[in-house]
Protein backbone atom coordinates (compact mmCIF):
# COMPACT_ATOMS: atom_id res chain seq x y z
CA UNK A 1 0.00 0.00 0.00
CA UNK A 2 1.26 3.48 -0.90
CA UNK A 3 2.10 5.98 1.72
CA UNK A 4 -0.01 9.10 2.09
CA UNK A 5 3.05 11.32 1.80
CA UNK A 6 4.12 9.63 -1.46
CA UNK A 7 0.70 10.04 -3.02
CA UNK A 8 0.47 13.68 -1.99
CA UNK A 9 3.91 14.59 -3.31
CA UNK A 10 3.38 12.55 -6.47
CA UNK A 11 0.03 14.18 -7.25
CA UNK A 12 1.11 17.72 -6.47
CA UNK A 13 4.37 17.18 -8.36
CA UNK A 14 2.51 15.92 -11.41
CA UNK A 15 4.14 12.46 -11.42
CA UNK A 16 0.99 10.77 -10.16
CA UNK A 17 -2.58 11.12 -11.34
CA UNK A 18 -5.14 11.56 -8.52
CA UNK A 19 -7.75 9.86 -10.69
CA UNK A 20 -5.51 6.83 -11.18
CA UNK A 21 -4.83 6.66 -7.46
CA UNK A 22 -8.52 6.80 -6.65
CA UNK A 23 -9.34 4.14 -9.27
CA UNK A 24 -6.70 1.85 -7.78
CA UNK A 25 -8.21 2.20 -4.29
CA UNK A 26 -11.78 1.80 -5.57
CA UNK A 27 -10.66 -1.40 -7.32
CA UNK A 28 -9.29 -2.77 -4.06
CA UNK A 29 -12.53 -1.85 -2.32
CA UNK A 30 -14.66 -3.69 -4.88
CA UNK A 31 -12.36 -6.69 -4.66
CA UNK A 32 -12.53 -7.19 -0.91
CA UNK A 33 -15.13 -4.95 0.72
CA UNK A 34 -17.88 -7.58 0.68
CA UNK A 35 -15.63 -9.72 2.85
CA UNK A 36 -14.39 -6.98 5.21
CA UNK A 37 -17.36 -4.58 5.40
CA UNK A 38 -15.22 -1.60 6.39
CA UNK A 39 -17.66 0.90 4.89
CA UNK A 40 -21.21 1.98 5.49
CA UNK A 41 -20.99 3.97 2.28
CA UNK A 42 -18.45 4.17 -0.53
CA UNK A 43 -18.63 7.55 -2.23
CA UNK A 44 -17.07 6.42 -5.49
CA UNK A 45 -18.66 8.98 -7.81
CA UNK A 46 -17.85 11.93 -5.59
CA UNK A 47 -14.28 10.60 -5.13
CA UNK A 48 -13.75 10.32 -8.88
CA UNK A 49 -15.13 13.80 -9.35
CA UNK A 50 -12.88 15.27 -6.64
CA UNK A 51 -9.80 13.48 -8.00
CA UNK A 52 -10.47 14.83 -11.47
CA UNK A 53 -10.72 18.33 -10.12
CA UNK A 54 -7.36 17.99 -8.39
CA UNK A 55 -5.76 16.69 -11.56
CA UNK A 56 -7.16 19.66 -13.45
CA UNK A 57 -5.85 22.02 -10.80
CA UNK A 58 -2.39 20.48 -11.05
CA UNK A 59 -2.48 20.71 -14.85
CA UNK A 60 -3.60 24.32 -14.61
CA UNK A 61 -0.64 25.04 -12.36
CA UNK A 62 -2.82 25.86 -9.35
CA UNK A 63 -1.48 25.26 -5.88
CA UNK A 64 -2.91 22.11 -4.33
CA UNK A 65 -3.01 21.15 -0.66
CA UNK A 66 -0.78 18.96 1.49
CA UNK A 67 -3.04 15.93 0.97
CA UNK A 68 -3.67 16.36 -2.74
CA UNK A 69 -5.24 13.25 -4.18
CA UNK A 70 -4.93 11.18 -1.01
CA UNK A 71 -7.85 8.75 -0.65
CA UNK A 72 -9.17 9.05 2.90
CA UNK A 73 -11.99 7.23 4.68
CA UNK A 74 -14.06 8.88 7.41
CA UNK A 75 -15.60 7.22 10.40
CA UNK A 76 -19.34 7.46 9.87
CA UNK A 77 -19.83 9.71 12.87
CA UNK A 78 -18.36 12.78 11.17
CA UNK A 79 -20.84 15.04 9.40
CA UNK A 80 -20.51 15.29 5.63
CA UNK A 81 -22.82 17.70 3.89
CA UNK A 82 -25.40 15.91 1.78
CA UNK A 83 -23.72 12.54 2.36
CA UNK A 84 -25.38 10.01 4.63
CA UNK A 85 -23.99 10.01 8.18
CA UNK A 86 -25.41 7.21 10.30
CA UNK A 87 -23.17 6.46 13.30
CA UNK A 88 -24.04 2.86 12.35
CA UNK A 89 -27.41 3.41 13.98
CA UNK A 90 -30.86 2.74 12.63
CA UNK A 91 -32.02 5.97 14.20
CA UNK A 92 -29.84 8.02 11.85
CA UNK A 93 -30.00 5.75 8.81
CA UNK A 94 -30.54 7.93 5.75
CA UNK A 95 -29.66 11.21 7.45
CA UNK A 96 -27.82 13.67 5.24
CA UNK A 97 -26.33 16.46 7.35
CA UNK A 98 -26.70 20.02 6.04
CA UNK A 99 -23.12 20.82 7.05
CA UNK A 100 -19.54 19.53 7.08
CA UNK A 101 -17.53 18.78 10.20
CA UNK A 102 -14.49 21.04 10.61
CA UNK A 103 -12.12 18.10 9.94
CA UNK A 104 -13.96 17.38 6.71
CA UNK A 105 -13.56 20.99 5.59
CA UNK A 106 -9.86 20.82 6.46
CA UNK A 107 -9.40 17.59 4.54
CA UNK A 108 -11.17 18.99 1.49
CA UNK A 109 -9.12 22.19 1.65
CA UNK A 110 -5.97 20.06 1.77
CA UNK A 111 -7.03 18.24 -1.38
CA UNK A 112 -7.86 14.88 0.21
CA UNK A 113 -10.34 12.67 -1.63
CA UNK A 114 -12.99 11.16 0.62
CA UNK A 115 -13.71 7.60 -0.50
CA UNK A 116 -16.38 6.66 2.00
CA UNK A 117 -17.85 6.52 5.48
CA UNK A 118 -16.62 3.67 7.66
CA UNK A 119 -18.44 1.31 9.96
CA UNK A 120 -18.33 1.66 13.75
CA UNK A 121 -19.93 0.40 16.91
CA UNK A 122 -23.24 2.26 17.07
CA UNK A 123 -22.54 5.82 18.26
CA UNK A 124 -18.95 4.70 18.92
CA UNK A 125 -20.03 2.55 21.86
CA UNK A 126 -18.05 -0.65 21.77
CA UNK A 127 -14.65 -2.24 21.29
CA UNK A 128 -15.28 -4.68 18.42
CA UNK A 129 -17.55 -3.00 15.84
CA UNK A 130 -19.99 -5.82 16.57
CA UNK A 131 -22.48 -3.20 17.82
CA UNK A 132 -23.03 -1.73 14.36
CA UNK A 133 -26.66 -1.82 13.28
CA UNK A 134 -25.40 -2.66 9.78
CA UNK A 135 -23.33 -5.71 10.62
CA UNK A 136 -19.77 -6.10 11.87
CA UNK A 137 -16.51 -5.21 10.18
CA UNK A 138 -13.99 -8.07 9.86
CA UNK A 139 -10.30 -7.90 10.66
CA UNK A 140 -8.34 -7.91 7.37
CA UNK A 141 -5.63 -10.06 9.01
CA UNK A 142 -8.14 -12.80 9.92
CA UNK A 143 -11.78 -12.40 9.00
CA UNK A 144 -12.91 -14.64 11.85
CA UNK A 145 -11.74 -11.94 14.23
CA UNK A 146 -12.96 -8.49 15.18
CA UNK A 147 -11.09 -5.40 13.99
CA UNK A 148 -11.55 -3.78 17.40
CA UNK A 149 -13.68 -0.74 17.92
CA UNK A 150 -15.35 1.49 17.90
CA UNK A 151 -13.50 2.82 14.82
CA UNK A 152 -13.19 -0.72 13.44
CA UNK A 153 -14.15 0.27 9.92
CA UNK A 154 -11.54 3.03 9.74
CA UNK A 155 -8.80 0.72 11.05
CA UNK A 156 -9.78 -2.09 8.68
CA UNK A 157 -9.99 0.30 5.71
CA UNK A 158 -6.34 1.28 6.14
CA UNK A 159 -5.21 -2.27 6.96
CA UNK A 160 -6.98 -3.62 3.86
CA UNK A 161 -5.60 -0.87 1.63
CA UNK A 162 -9.04 0.61 0.93
CA UNK A 163 -7.75 4.08 1.79
CA UNK A 164 -4.31 5.61 2.30
CA UNK A 165 -5.51 6.92 5.64
CA UNK A 166 -8.66 7.34 7.64
CA UNK A 167 -10.06 9.31 10.54
CA UNK A 168 -11.56 7.80 13.65
CA UNK A 169 -12.76 9.11 16.97
CA UNK A 170 -11.44 8.02 20.32
CA UNK A 171 -13.46 8.35 23.54
CA UNK A 172 -11.93 5.51 25.53
CA UNK A 173 -9.55 3.90 23.04
CA UNK A 174 -11.68 3.75 19.91
CA UNK A 175 -8.79 4.72 17.62
CA UNK A 176 -5.86 3.07 19.39
CA UNK A 177 -7.38 -0.33 20.18
CA UNK A 178 -8.59 -1.08 16.60
CA UNK A 179 -5.29 0.29 15.27
CA UNK A 180 -3.48 -2.25 17.43
CA UNK A 181 -5.79 -5.10 16.43
CA UNK A 182 -5.52 -4.27 12.72
CA UNK A 183 -1.78 -3.58 12.70
CA UNK A 184 -1.87 0.11 11.75
CA UNK A 185 -0.88 3.38 13.41
CA UNK A 186 -3.64 5.16 15.35
CA UNK A 187 -3.40 8.45 17.22
CA UNK A 188 -5.59 10.10 19.82
CA UNK A 189 -4.26 13.65 20.11
CA UNK A 190 -4.47 15.92 23.15
CA UNK A 191 -8.08 16.81 23.92
CA UNK A 192 -8.72 20.13 22.18
CA UNK A 193 -6.15 19.88 19.38
CA UNK A 194 -8.56 18.60 16.72
CA UNK A 195 -11.95 20.29 16.44
CA UNK A 196 -14.96 18.23 17.47
CA UNK A 197 -17.34 20.45 15.49
CA UNK A 198 -19.34 18.08 13.34
CA UNK A 199 -18.22 14.95 15.17
CA UNK A 200 -21.39 13.30 16.45
CA UNK A 201 -20.89 13.45 20.20
CA UNK A 202 -20.60 10.36 22.36
CA UNK A 203 -18.95 11.77 25.51
CA UNK A 204 -18.06 15.40 24.96
CA UNK A 205 -15.29 15.73 27.54
CA UNK A 206 -13.50 12.61 26.22
CA UNK A 207 -14.06 12.53 22.45
CA UNK A 208 -11.17 13.32 20.11
CA UNK A 209 -10.72 12.79 16.38
CA UNK A 210 -7.45 11.29 15.17
CA UNK A 211 -5.79 9.56 12.22
CA UNK A 212 -5.25 5.95 11.16
CA UNK A 213 -2.35 5.44 8.79
CA UNK A 214 0.02 2.70 7.72
CA UNK A 215 3.04 4.45 9.21
CA UNK A 216 4.08 7.08 11.71
CA UNK A 217 5.11 9.71 9.16
CA UNK A 218 1.70 9.58 7.49
CA UNK A 219 0.04 9.92 10.88
CA UNK A 220 2.15 12.97 11.67
CA UNK A 221 1.34 14.53 8.30
CA UNK A 222 -2.39 13.92 8.58
CA UNK A 223 -2.53 15.15 12.19
CA UNK A 224 -0.72 18.33 11.21
CA UNK A 225 -3.44 18.94 8.64
CA UNK A 226 -6.47 18.34 10.85
CA UNK A 227 -5.24 19.93 14.08
CA UNK A 228 -5.34 23.59 15.08
CA UNK A 229 -7.72 26.00 16.74
CA UNK A 230 -11.37 26.06 15.66
CA UNK A 231 -13.58 28.91 16.89
CA UNK A 232 -16.63 26.64 16.41
CA UNK A 233 -15.48 24.38 19.27
CA UNK A 234 -15.27 26.11 22.66
CA UNK A 235 -12.95 23.38 23.97
CA UNK A 236 -10.50 23.82 21.11
CA UNK A 237 -7.07 24.86 22.39
CA UNK A 238 -6.14 28.28 20.97
CA UNK A 239 -2.86 27.16 19.38
CA UNK A 240 -1.68 26.63 15.82
CA UNK A 241 -1.68 23.18 14.23
CA UNK A 242 0.74 20.62 15.67
CA UNK A 243 4.23 20.42 14.17
CA UNK A 244 5.26 16.78 14.09
CA UNK A 245 6.98 15.64 10.89
CA UNK A 246 10.09 17.63 11.73
CA UNK A 247 10.77 15.60 14.90
CA UNK A 248 10.40 12.11 13.45
CA UNK A 249 14.07 11.55 12.72
CA UNK A 250 15.39 12.97 15.96
CA UNK A 251 15.64 9.62 17.74
CA UNK A 252 15.09 8.97 21.43
CA UNK A 253 18.60 9.40 22.77
CA UNK A 254 18.40 10.82 26.28
CA UNK A 255 14.64 10.47 26.50
CA UNK A 256 13.12 9.00 29.64
CA UNK A 257 10.47 6.37 28.98
CA UNK A 258 8.12 5.31 31.77
CA UNK A 259 7.37 1.70 32.61
CA UNK A 260 4.22 1.40 34.73
CA UNK A 261 4.97 -0.92 37.64
CA UNK A 262 1.37 -1.18 38.81
CA UNK A 263 -0.24 -1.86 35.46
CA UNK A 264 -3.73 -3.40 35.83
CA UNK A 265 -3.75 -7.16 35.50
CA UNK A 266 -5.28 -9.19 32.72
CA UNK A 267 -2.83 -8.58 29.89
CA UNK A 268 -1.98 -11.60 27.74
CA UNK A 269 1.64 -12.87 27.85
CA UNK A 270 2.22 -12.50 24.09
CA UNK A 271 1.35 -8.82 24.37
CA UNK A 272 3.53 -8.30 27.47
CA UNK A 273 6.39 -9.94 25.62
CA UNK A 274 6.13 -7.36 22.85
CA UNK A 275 6.02 -4.58 25.42
CA UNK A 276 9.34 -5.81 26.85
CA UNK A 277 10.80 -5.97 23.36
CA UNK A 278 9.70 -2.37 22.86
CA UNK A 279 11.48 -1.24 26.02
CA UNK A 280 14.59 -3.08 24.83
CA UNK A 281 14.46 -1.39 21.46
CA UNK A 282 14.17 2.07 22.99
CA UNK A 283 16.94 1.32 25.45
CA UNK A 284 19.18 0.25 22.58
CA UNK A 285 18.35 3.50 20.83
CA UNK A 286 19.62 5.49 23.81
CA UNK A 287 16.54 6.05 25.92
CA UNK A 288 16.38 5.46 29.66
CA UNK A 289 13.59 3.31 31.03
CA UNK A 290 12.21 4.68 34.31
CA UNK A 291 9.71 2.94 36.61
CA UNK A 292 6.59 4.98 37.36
CA UNK A 293 3.58 4.29 39.56
CA UNK A 294 0.04 5.16 38.53
CA UNK A 295 -1.94 3.86 41.53
CA UNK A 296 -5.29 5.28 40.36
CA UNK A 297 -5.10 3.48 37.03
CA UNK A 298 -7.11 0.61 38.50
CA UNK A 299 -10.10 2.95 39.02
CA UNK A 300 -10.12 4.28 35.45
CA UNK A 301 -12.65 1.79 34.16
CA UNK A 302 -15.16 2.77 36.83
CA UNK A 303 -14.64 6.48 36.34
CA UNK A 304 -14.91 6.11 32.58
CA UNK A 305 -18.01 3.91 32.58
CA UNK A 306 -19.81 6.44 34.75
CA UNK A 307 -18.65 9.64 33.05
CA UNK A 308 -18.94 8.54 29.42
CA UNK A 309 -22.47 7.10 29.69
CA UNK A 310 -23.61 10.12 31.73
CA UNK A 311 -22.54 12.53 29.01
CA UNK A 312 -23.82 10.14 26.35
CA UNK A 313 -27.28 9.90 27.93
CA UNK A 314 -27.60 13.66 27.48
CA UNK A 315 -25.91 13.82 24.06
CA UNK A 316 -28.16 11.10 22.69
CA UNK A 317 -31.39 12.62 23.98
CA UNK A 318 -31.67 14.67 20.77
CA UNK A 319 -32.54 11.54 18.79
CA UNK A 320 -36.22 12.04 19.36
CA UNK A 321 -37.73 11.68 15.90
CA UNK A 322 -38.56 15.38 15.56
CA UNK A 323 -35.98 17.21 13.45
CA UNK A 324 -33.89 14.56 11.68
CA UNK A 325 -33.34 10.83 11.54
CA UNK A 326 -36.03 8.22 11.85
CA UNK A 327 -39.31 8.19 13.71
CA UNK A 328 -41.66 5.43 14.72
CA UNK A 329 -45.07 7.04 14.64
CA UNK A 330 -47.44 6.87 17.58
CA UNK A 331 -50.64 8.54 18.68
CA UNK A 332 -49.03 10.91 21.16
CA UNK A 333 -45.71 12.58 21.64
CA UNK A 334 -44.28 10.56 24.52
CA UNK A 335 -45.25 7.29 22.86
CA UNK A 336 -43.57 8.50 19.67
CA UNK A 337 -40.37 9.31 21.59
CA UNK A 338 -40.26 5.93 23.27
CA UNK A 339 -41.16 3.93 20.16
CA UNK A 340 -38.59 5.83 18.09
CA UNK A 341 -35.77 5.36 20.57
CA UNK A 342 -36.71 1.78 21.36
CA UNK A 343 -36.57 0.81 17.69
CA UNK A 344 -33.73 3.13 16.71
CA UNK A 345 -31.09 2.32 19.31
CA UNK A 346 -29.28 -0.97 19.72
CA UNK A 347 -28.83 -2.84 22.97
CA UNK A 348 -25.44 -1.41 23.99
CA UNK A 349 -26.53 2.14 23.32
CA UNK A 350 -29.64 1.65 25.43
CA UNK A 351 -27.57 0.10 28.21
CA UNK A 352 -25.27 3.11 28.32
CA UNK A 353 -28.14 5.61 28.14
CA UNK A 354 -29.73 3.80 31.08
CA UNK A 355 -26.49 3.72 33.04
CA UNK A 356 -25.80 7.39 32.37
CA UNK A 357 -29.33 8.54 33.11
CA UNK A 358 -29.18 6.65 36.39
CA UNK A 359 -25.75 8.05 37.32
CA UNK A 360 -27.01 11.62 36.81
CA UNK A 361 -30.42 11.25 38.39
CA UNK A 362 -31.46 12.87 41.62
CA UNK A 363 -30.34 10.84 44.59
CA UNK A 364 -27.54 9.02 42.75
CA UNK A 365 -25.52 11.89 41.29
CA UNK A 366 -23.10 12.25 44.19
CA UNK A 367 -22.61 8.52 44.64
CA UNK A 368 -21.78 7.89 40.99
CA UNK A 369 -21.17 10.77 38.60
CA UNK A 370 -19.87 13.17 41.23
CA UNK A 371 -17.47 10.58 42.60
CA UNK A 372 -16.29 9.56 39.13
CA UNK A 373 -15.26 13.17 38.41
CA UNK A 374 -13.11 13.13 41.53
CA UNK A 375 -11.47 9.87 40.53
CA UNK A 376 -10.76 11.50 37.18
CA UNK A 377 -8.80 14.15 39.06
CA UNK A 378 -6.80 11.47 40.90
CA UNK A 379 -5.78 9.90 37.61
CA UNK A 380 -4.77 13.22 36.18
CA UNK A 381 -2.72 13.93 39.32
CA UNK A 382 -1.03 10.51 39.06
CA UNK A 383 0.04 11.27 35.52
CA UNK A 384 1.29 14.73 36.51
CA UNK A 385 3.53 13.14 39.12
CA UNK A 386 4.80 10.51 36.69
CA UNK A 387 5.62 13.07 34.00
CA UNK A 388 7.95 14.83 36.39
CA UNK A 389 10.35 11.95 35.83
CA UNK A 390 9.56 10.72 32.31
CA UNK A 391 8.85 12.14 28.84
CA UNK A 392 6.54 9.38 27.65
CA UNK A 393 5.05 6.19 29.05
CA UNK A 394 4.77 2.86 27.25
CA UNK A 395 1.96 0.36 27.82
CA UNK A 396 0.23 -2.27 25.72
CA UNK A 397 -2.58 -0.76 23.65
CA UNK A 398 -4.91 -3.73 24.13
CA UNK A 399 -4.67 -6.59 26.64
CA UNK A 400 -4.85 -9.11 23.78
CA UNK A 401 -4.63 -9.46 20.03
CA UNK A 402 -7.84 -9.39 18.00
CA UNK A 403 -10.41 -11.77 19.43
CA UNK A 404 -13.00 -13.93 17.69
CA UNK A 405 -16.48 -12.67 16.89
CA UNK A 406 -19.00 -13.23 19.65
CA UNK A 407 -16.45 -14.05 22.32
CA UNK A 408 -17.31 -11.04 24.48
CA UNK A 409 -20.76 -10.02 23.29
CA UNK A 410 -22.63 -11.68 26.16
CA UNK A 411 -20.63 -9.93 28.84
CA UNK A 412 -20.54 -6.14 28.62
CA UNK A 413 -17.96 -5.90 31.40
CA UNK A 414 -15.54 -8.24 29.62
CA UNK A 415 -15.83 -6.03 26.54
CA UNK A 416 -15.25 -2.90 28.66
CA UNK A 417 -11.97 -4.41 29.91
CA UNK A 418 -10.55 -4.14 26.37
CA UNK A 419 -10.15 -0.43 27.06
CA UNK A 420 -8.28 -0.71 30.34
CA UNK A 421 -5.00 0.68 28.93
CA UNK A 422 -6.48 3.28 26.63
CA UNK A 423 -9.07 4.92 28.89
CA UNK A 424 -6.63 6.74 31.19
CA UNK A 425 -5.42 9.09 28.42
CA UNK A 426 -8.99 10.08 27.61
CA UNK A 427 -9.76 10.82 31.24
CA UNK A 428 -6.61 12.94 31.54
CA UNK A 429 -7.05 14.51 28.08
CA UNK A 430 -3.55 13.43 27.12
CA UNK A 431 -2.26 12.29 23.73
CA UNK A 432 -1.61 8.60 23.13
CA UNK A 433 -0.97 6.50 20.06
CA UNK A 434 -0.68 2.90 19.06
CA UNK A 435 2.19 1.70 16.88
CA UNK A 436 2.34 -1.81 15.39
CA UNK A 437 5.19 -3.72 17.00
CA UNK A 438 5.39 -7.26 15.75
CA UNK A 439 2.88 -10.02 16.23
CA UNK A 440 1.50 -12.12 19.07
CA UNK A 441 -0.43 -15.39 19.10
CA UNK A 442 -1.61 -16.68 15.73
CA UNK A 443 0.61 -14.07 14.07
CA UNK A 444 -1.92 -11.38 14.87
CA UNK A 445 -0.62 -7.80 15.14
CA UNK A 446 0.28 -6.30 18.51
CA UNK A 447 0.23 -2.58 19.18
CA UNK A 448 2.34 -0.68 21.66
CA UNK A 449 0.83 2.42 23.17
CA UNK A 450 2.94 5.55 23.63
CA UNK A 451 1.49 8.05 26.10
CA UNK A 452 2.54 11.63 26.72
CA UNK A 453 1.29 14.57 28.73
CA UNK A 454 -0.89 17.41 27.43
CA UNK A 455 0.45 18.69 24.09
CA UNK A 456 3.35 16.25 24.38
CA UNK A 457 2.77 14.98 20.81
CA UNK A 458 6.33 15.66 19.69
CA UNK A 459 7.87 13.41 22.34
CA UNK A 460 5.21 10.80 21.62
CA UNK A 461 5.90 10.82 17.88
CA UNK A 462 9.68 10.59 18.40
CA UNK A 463 9.20 7.42 20.43
CA UNK A 464 6.65 6.02 17.99
CA UNK A 465 9.00 6.63 15.06
CA UNK A 466 11.79 4.85 16.91
CA UNK A 467 9.57 1.86 17.65
CA UNK A 468 8.60 1.74 13.99
CA UNK A 469 12.24 1.72 12.96
CA UNK A 470 12.94 -1.10 15.39
CA UNK A 471 10.02 -3.31 14.41
Amino acid sequence: MEKLVEIASGVSGGTLNASDVVEEYLKRISARESEIHAFNLVTADQARHDAEKIDNDVKAGKKVGALAGVPIALKDNMCTRGVETTCSSKILQGWKPPYDATVVTKLRNAGAVIVGKTNLDEFAMGSSTENSAFGPTRNPHDISRVPGGSSGGSAAAVAAGFAAASLGSDTGGSIRQPAALCGVVGVKPTYGTVSRYGLVAFASSLDQIGPFTSDVRDAATLLETISGHDPMDSTSIPQPALSLVSVLDQGVKGMRIGRVTDLPEGCEPDVLERLEAAFDALRSAGATIVDVKLPSLQYCLTAYYLIAPAEASSNLARYDGVRFGNRVDAADLNSMYAATREAGFGEEVKRRIMLGTYALSAGYFDAYYGKALKVRRLISDDFARAYQSVDTILTPTSPSVAFKFGSKTDNPLAMYLCDVFTIPSNLAGHPAMSVPFGVGVDSMPVGIQVLASTLGEQAMFKVAAELERAS
Partner: protein, 100 residues
Protein backbone atom coordinates in the same frame (compact mmCIF):
# COMPACT_ATOMS: atom_id res chain seq x y z
CA UNK B 1 -22.84 4.02 48.20
CA UNK B 2 -26.42 3.50 47.16
CA UNK B 3 -28.30 0.23 47.66
CA UNK B 4 -28.68 -2.31 44.90
CA UNK B 5 -30.60 -1.01 41.90
CA UNK B 6 -34.21 -2.19 41.79
CA UNK B 7 -36.33 -3.01 38.79
CA UNK B 8 -38.67 -0.23 39.83
CA UNK B 9 -35.79 2.25 39.60
CA UNK B 10 -34.79 0.84 36.23
CA UNK B 11 -38.30 1.41 34.92
CA UNK B 12 -38.33 4.94 36.32
CA UNK B 13 -34.98 5.67 34.68
CA UNK B 14 -36.16 4.20 31.37
CA UNK B 15 -39.08 6.63 31.43
CA UNK B 16 -36.75 9.56 32.09
CA UNK B 17 -34.65 8.42 29.11
CA UNK B 18 -37.73 7.86 26.92
CA UNK B 19 -36.83 4.21 26.35
CA UNK B 20 -39.78 1.90 26.65
CA UNK B 21 -38.58 -1.31 28.27
CA UNK B 22 -40.96 -4.21 28.54
CA UNK B 23 -40.87 -6.37 31.67
CA UNK B 24 -38.45 -8.85 30.20
CA UNK B 25 -36.06 -6.13 29.01
CA UNK B 26 -36.34 -4.37 32.34
CA UNK B 27 -35.39 -7.59 34.14
CA UNK B 28 -32.35 -8.12 31.96
CA UNK B 29 -31.34 -4.47 32.22
CA UNK B 30 -31.69 -4.53 36.00
CA UNK B 31 -29.39 -7.54 36.25
CA UNK B 32 -26.80 -6.02 33.91
CA UNK B 33 -26.81 -2.61 35.58
CA UNK B 34 -26.60 -4.22 39.01
CA UNK B 35 -23.54 -6.18 37.85
CA UNK B 36 -21.82 -3.07 36.56
CA UNK B 37 -22.69 -0.95 39.56
CA UNK B 38 -21.33 -3.72 41.77
CA UNK B 39 -18.05 -3.58 39.84
CA UNK B 40 -18.02 0.23 40.15
CA UNK B 41 -18.04 -0.03 43.95
CA UNK B 42 -14.25 -0.24 43.80
CA UNK B 43 -14.11 3.54 44.13
CA UNK B 44 -16.14 3.51 47.35
CA UNK B 45 -13.00 2.81 49.33
CA UNK B 46 -11.29 5.99 48.11
CA UNK B 47 -11.18 9.04 50.33
CA UNK B 48 -12.32 11.74 47.93
CA UNK B 49 -13.45 14.37 50.41
CA UNK B 50 -10.79 16.93 49.45
CA UNK B 51 -10.55 16.08 45.77
CA UNK B 52 -11.70 18.70 43.28
CA UNK B 53 -13.97 17.15 40.60
CA UNK B 54 -12.41 17.23 37.13
CA UNK B 55 -14.94 18.05 34.45
CA UNK B 56 -12.73 19.13 31.58
CA UNK B 57 -9.28 17.98 30.56
CA UNK B 58 -7.85 21.31 29.42
CA UNK B 59 -8.31 24.49 31.46
CA UNK B 60 -9.82 27.13 29.20
CA UNK B 61 -12.02 30.07 30.14
CA UNK B 62 -13.85 32.96 28.46
CA UNK B 63 -14.21 31.41 25.04
CA UNK B 64 -16.44 33.93 23.30
CA UNK B 65 -17.67 34.79 19.86
CA UNK B 66 -18.58 38.20 18.39
CA UNK B 67 -22.26 38.92 17.83
CA UNK B 68 -22.19 38.65 14.04
CA UNK B 69 -24.94 36.98 11.99
CA UNK B 70 -24.12 34.06 9.69
CA UNK B 71 -26.58 32.88 7.06
CA UNK B 72 -29.31 30.47 8.11
CA UNK B 73 -29.40 26.90 6.88
CA UNK B 74 -31.73 26.37 3.96
CA UNK B 75 -35.15 25.58 5.37
CA UNK B 76 -36.16 23.18 2.63
CA UNK B 77 -32.90 21.22 2.92
CA UNK B 78 -33.42 20.92 6.68
CA UNK B 79 -37.13 20.09 6.56
CA UNK B 80 -36.38 17.57 3.84
CA UNK B 81 -34.46 15.58 6.46
CA UNK B 82 -37.26 15.72 9.04
CA UNK B 83 -39.59 12.76 9.60
CA UNK B 84 -42.59 15.04 8.96
CA UNK B 85 -42.90 18.70 8.16
CA UNK B 86 -45.75 21.02 7.24
CA UNK B 87 -46.04 24.72 6.38
CA UNK B 88 -42.34 25.37 6.94
CA UNK B 89 -42.39 23.72 10.33
CA UNK B 90 -41.65 20.38 11.98
CA UNK B 91 -44.73 18.32 12.73
CA UNK B 92 -45.13 16.22 15.89
CA UNK B 93 -47.93 14.15 17.39
CA UNK B 94 -50.09 15.74 20.08
CA UNK B 95 -48.84 16.14 23.60
CA UNK B 96 -50.89 14.24 26.13
CA UNK B 97 -51.12 16.05 29.42
CA UNK B 98 -50.07 19.61 29.93
CA UNK B 99 -47.72 21.95 28.21
CA UNK B 100 -44.39 22.57 29.91
Amino acid sequence: MAEKISQETVIKVSRLARLSLNTEEAEKMTAQLAGMLEHFRDIDALDLADVEPMTQPYPLKNVLREDVIAPSLDRDEVLGQAPTAESGRFRVPPTIGFDV
